[in-house]
């Protein structure tokens, strides 16, 4: 069955392109300390606001130009990818673990446990994503860990709901009945019999959500509530360049990190949709923003 999924995925050219984009960005992020052309945090004021190589007055030494403090923009974007991508991955992995566990328990155990978990999900779903994250960031203060908590606070609910509904559908299946009849304990049924069946959906949901979390991180950092300088993330670089946009003397500072976000998120979405079509075509659009 896995062989069939892999063949279906391999035939999907858009999905392969997406996977390629994701791999390329991941490599850049992993190898950043060794491949950045300049020190991303050290600027030279004599070199401030140099245009990108292909624009008038640009040079290849600073392929994407320099920012208002004379720091090399390409190096900052590569360095920023570490924060943006790792944050997206950490949040999604964390939420997949929490969401799958709570979804399994909620669906299998039922009764008041199910009620408590599902009412919590309902309440969290009542908050617009960014508003909740902003309120939490105001409470915790900025920083990477706080941002993970703020973004994860609601994120797990998507996985939890989908896993729960799958468990409800599988609960009465013959193999579960058989396991129960042969005296398997609930934990064994949950983790040995039900878990393997919900993993494909959980992986698909996780892949489709990484891009969304990266977009939210960029928004929070752009508002000045996320990653703090001198550390760079894609969102903070866009915010740095905002005031230079209006003078048309530094349009590149905000433009290029936005393109980086866009390409990464696009790659992630293509990859995720390819995975969905190959692994679990029944799963409807879960890439909805909220």
């Amino acid at each position: 069955m896995r062989g069939r999924a892999w063949r279906a995925f391999r035939r999907n050219r858009l999905a392969l392109a997406g996977a390629g984009l994701v791999c390329a960005f991941s490599l850049l992020a992993l190898l950043a300390p060794w491949i950045v052309p300049h020190d991303p945090s050290r600027g030279d004021l004599a070199l401030r606001l140099r245009p990108p190589a292909l624009a008038a007055g640009g040079e290849w030494r600073h392929a994407l130009g320099t920012d208002n403090l004379g720091r090399d923009l390409l190096s900052r974007i590569i360095d920023g990818s570490r924060v943006s991508i790792s944050l997206g991955l950490v949040v999604v992995v964390l939420c997949t673990l929490v969401g799958v566990t709570l979804g399994l328990v909620s669906g299998y155990v039922g009764s008041w446990v199910d009620t408590v978990i599902q009412r919590t999900v309902d309440v969290l779903l009542a908050f617009p994503y960014l508003i909740l994250a902003i309120a939490l960031m105001a409470l915790f203060g900025p920083g990477f860990t706080n941002m993970v908590i703020a973004l994860a606070f609601k994120e797990w609910t998507t996985t939890c709901r989908i896993v729960r509904s799958e468990v409800l559908a599988l609960k009465g299946a013959a193999f579960v009945e058989a396991a129960r009849a042969s005296g398997a304990r609930p934990t064994r049924i949950l983790f040995r019999h039900l878990l393997p069946n919900v993993i494909p959906s959980a992986i698909v949901v996780a892949t489709l959500r990484v891009g969304w979390v990266v977009l939210m991180e960029a928004a929070l950092s752009f508002l000045g509530l996320g990653i703090q300088p001198p550390q760079a993330s894609w969102g903070t670089i866009i915010a740095d360049g905002r005031q230079y946009l209006y003078s048309a003397r530094g349009w590149w500072i905000s433009t290029f990190p936005g393109i980086a976000i866009f390409l990464f998120v696009l790659g992630m979405n293509l990859f995720g949709e390819g995975l969905r079509d190959a692994l679990d075509p029944r799963l409807a659009e879960v890439s909805l923003p909220e």
């Binding site: 009412r119 908050f127 617009p128 960014l130 309120a135 105001a138 928004a219 003078s247 936005g258 923003p289």
Partner: protein, 340 residues
Amino acid sequence: MSGYVLRRLGQAIPVLLGVTFVVFLLMYLTPGDPVELFMGQAGIVSQEEIERVRREFGLDRPFVEQYGRFLGGIVRGDLGQSIIYRRPVAVLIGERLPATVELTLFASLIALLVAVPAGVVAAVRRNTWLDALGTTVSLLGVSLPGFWLGLVLILVFSVTLKVLPVAGRAAYGTGLERQTGFLLLDAMLQGNGPAIVDVLRHLVMPALALSAGMMAMTMRLTRSSLLETIHQDYVRTARAKGMPQRRVIVRHALRNALLPVVTAIALNVGALLGGNMVVETVFSWPGLGRLVVEAVESRDYPLIRGCVLVYAVTYVFLNLIADLSYALLDPRVGVGGGRK
């Protein structure tokens, strides 16, 4: 049907209570005493003075009692006092709300006007270059950060081409008088042509930046939903009796295909509402989103609390409308106990 409506309304009440509890808890757990923050702005005050104000605000009372007072306040429309503005939070929100509603509705309108026809074309011309183009553009739409799109629009249309204003809701000097707070409506009521044009020129870029995601999603939904209905028996029957293609699509297929689209609108409007603080920041749009960001920047906790509450409650109601409209439009829902 009415049973379903009542049941769905009944479900919304515990959710709303839960929302107020989370909002209250968020601010209850806030490090730092709000009174000290409040008094700190007024200069040096004695410990006794702080204690007196704490008693006055009821902050020395037990948790449950404070929550009860908070709920009572909400029912009376009292959301407390803003620390930075020194005015009632409810009044501040009321002043900013029309700007946000106007922007959100305009963005939704643009999204629908573009997305529904585009989705229909993509479905009818399935597997042609038109379909590929539509699908690709919509995929790009979901992957774009809206605020960045806003910045690029500013760069192109305001800075470089100088055809659209950079920020704000209206220019001075068009003689527009503010009545309802909805500037487009005001301009139309006053029959002020130049003001209508001016307000629209201010609206178009933030609305586009805000609507990109919704446009993409609505287009995909219209396409997939129409593709599903095209294969239904009644559509085949209509075709078999020789009805022209256009009429088959519009009269038979589209009417049913738009059902999920219509209900998704309410959800999407909620999503736009949740995303507007970044776009409002980019365009200095004086709406609710901008107010939240200002409140967070200056740690104005009562104001943050009020705004979050208003957002969440609006969101719950939009979800409710989505579910109810679904039940209203599709008689199959509600018979067996709700949406699948």
